[in-house]
Amino acid sequence: MIRSLRVRLMLAAAVLALLFMLALLPALQKTFSLALQESIEQRLASDVTTLISAARVENNRLMMPVLLPDERFNLPDSRLLGYIYDRDGRLVWRSRATANENINYQPRYDGRGNEFARIRQDDGEEFFVYDVEVKLLGGKSAAYSIVALQPVREYRETLNGLREKLYLGFGAALLVLMVLLWAGLTWGLRSLRRMTVELDEIESGARDGLSGEHPRELLRLTRSLNRLLRSEREQRGRYRDSLGDLAHSLKTPLAVLQGVSEGMAQRPADREQARVLQSQIERMSQQIDYQLQRASLRKSGLVRHQVQLRPLLDSLCGTLAKVYRDKQVEVAFDLVDDARVPMEQGALMELLGNLLENAWRLCLGQVRISLGKVDGMLELCIEDDGPGVPPDQRERILQRGERLDRQYPGQGIGLAVAKDIIDSYDARLTLGDSPLGGAAFRIRFTAD
């Protein structure tokens, strides 16, 4: 299947033009050959007339001059042949050029006058024949068939030459047509290309919607797309706001309950119940966090984002450095200044925030963040010099997002959220050892 609209149009136009030319060609050839035959007939008629006017009859014998007024009869190699037969079909005169020819022609002296015909010899050669019956010559009664012949070969050559010229002409016309069509299509499809450029800009976040400067035929499409983009953006915003409100309105009561349970825990008789209450509060809180973040941070369908990594890292590291001020963590960056990651800003911030806090919490004093190409794919790596994760626990840690109901004490939902965000972007999170001595979280983005 041909994907390009332009190639499709070009192909269709070329096939149409070719069919048109193929239909036109035989008609043109037919017309030309008819005209050519007519002119040959006229010329042969005039040649016969030359012979008639040169002939005389004396004593019932045909007398022909040695030299005829038309040069072509006199030359030995001429292609114009002249014959004169009597009424019984006997040859009485032949022109000089007929010396090497042996024409097998039998005139029919049947009173029909002139005849133009095409005859075929035994050796395959064909001739045009013009046969005139005369009854009088120079006022004397005489019955002769005066015949002029010309080979068909020349006619064929002329016709072939014409066909060749027609083919060449049509080929050149087709070429010019295609070039003009290409130029026309380029002009016509320019607006589609402009739309592609604008869509690229939308995907990269440089533009909010399509411009209004498109041809009338596309305006409905661009307007619909703009509406869709706007509504998606607004919906995401509304969605995020209501999720935030929901989080606030659910978790503040939980904080109150937590306080109540702590009050209960101070009374020895209620301690066990307080413990149950607290573990349920913790579980609810984690579920709320996890589900809300999951809902708000999924990849958007229309816009493909490219977020500059450095400013985001700077603000996150600034925040963490402030919170973990006593720890004096040394952060190393291994990325170019303009490094970009194909994710939405909010999602990338949550993802990096969770992974970086993890690193900050567990490291001894060193964290390294790097971005580079590995096996042709973009890989973001966050390493620390902490205790690392034993190989047999890695799978479990990364699987937690799917089994949140199984509680492992001491772990937040940070990694589960990170894993979920990464999955929604078709990226892969792996956990390994770092040369720094601790864990290395690697996020590999599929080439999109």
């Binding site: 935030g244 606030h248 978790k251 904080a255 109150v256 509060i281 603000s315 600034g318 919170v323 006593d326």
Partner: protein
């Protein structure tokens, strides 16, 4: 220490107020940012706990306004959403730490103590001045490694003076450390308390770290580490 709590949910506010008061702090708990700004302008606080999801002026804006008023006390934010956007914005606006709701009071207290310690320039949970050692977590004073029997008020005054060592501390400031803003106050109480504290510190060793600066207040003369 004197704390400002800004939380719109009445039950949580009440809980924070009572638990923090039990831990030996003087707590002003308010429901909105306007009231918090008024309190911060009128009194001297050592730390503020601010909920980000306040009605009207947001917690984020409140933090910005407090910092614009040159209030340098540490600010701990409480956030319901727990997302990084909020945390980063909060800390960029001038907060010092965050806590996601719901939280255990012990965690809140640990964060508060760390912030208070840092704000007065101490990195350890103890402050030492000569033979005197203050254990900030246990809220206990040790003189020559012997526990000193101090009342809660005496301890608060001693901790405040040691945190602001080699600075003149006005009586009014010490008063704020003892009573909420709207309570009746008697300035003589401070003199009585400081007198008792001096006697207990002097003991057998003759340790006299608290001077009176006439008309201005008190001065803890020893260098604290």
């Amino acid at each position: 220490m004197k704390l400002l709590v800004v939380e719109d949910e009445a039950l949580l506010r009440h809980h924070l107020h009572s638990r923090l008061s039990e831990s030996g702090h003087v707590v002003e708990a308010v429901a909105d940012a306007e009231e918090a700004l008024y309190q911060a302008e009128q009194f001297n606080h050592d730390l503020a706990i601010v909920d980000l999801g306040l009605p009207g002026m947001s917690g984020l804006e409140l933090i910005g306004r407090l910092r614009a008023l040159d209030k340098t006390f540490p600010i701990l934010i409480l956030t319901a959403r727990g997302n990084w956007q909020d945390k980063v914005e909060g800390l960029a606006a001038g907060a010092d730490d965050y806590l996601v709701k719901p939280f255990q009071f012990e965690e809140l207290e640990a964060r508060l103590n760390a912030l208070l310690r840092r704000s007065s320039g101490f990195t350890q949970a103890t402050i030492t001045a000569g033979p005197l050692r203050l254990d900030l977590n246990r809220k206990q004073a040790l003189l020559d490694e012997q526990p000193l029997a101090l009342t809660a008020y005496e301890y608060r005054i001693l901790e405040y003076l040691m945190r602001h060592h080699q600075q003149v501390v006005a009586k009014e400031r010490l008063m704020e450390q003892l009573y909420p803003n709207d309570e009746e106050r008697d300035p003589n109480v401070i003199e009585v308390l400081v007198g008792r504290l001096r006697r207990k510190l002097e003991g057998d060793l003759g340790f006299k770290p608290i001077d009176t600066v006439r008309g201005l207040g008190y001065l803890f003369t020893e260098r604290c580490r």
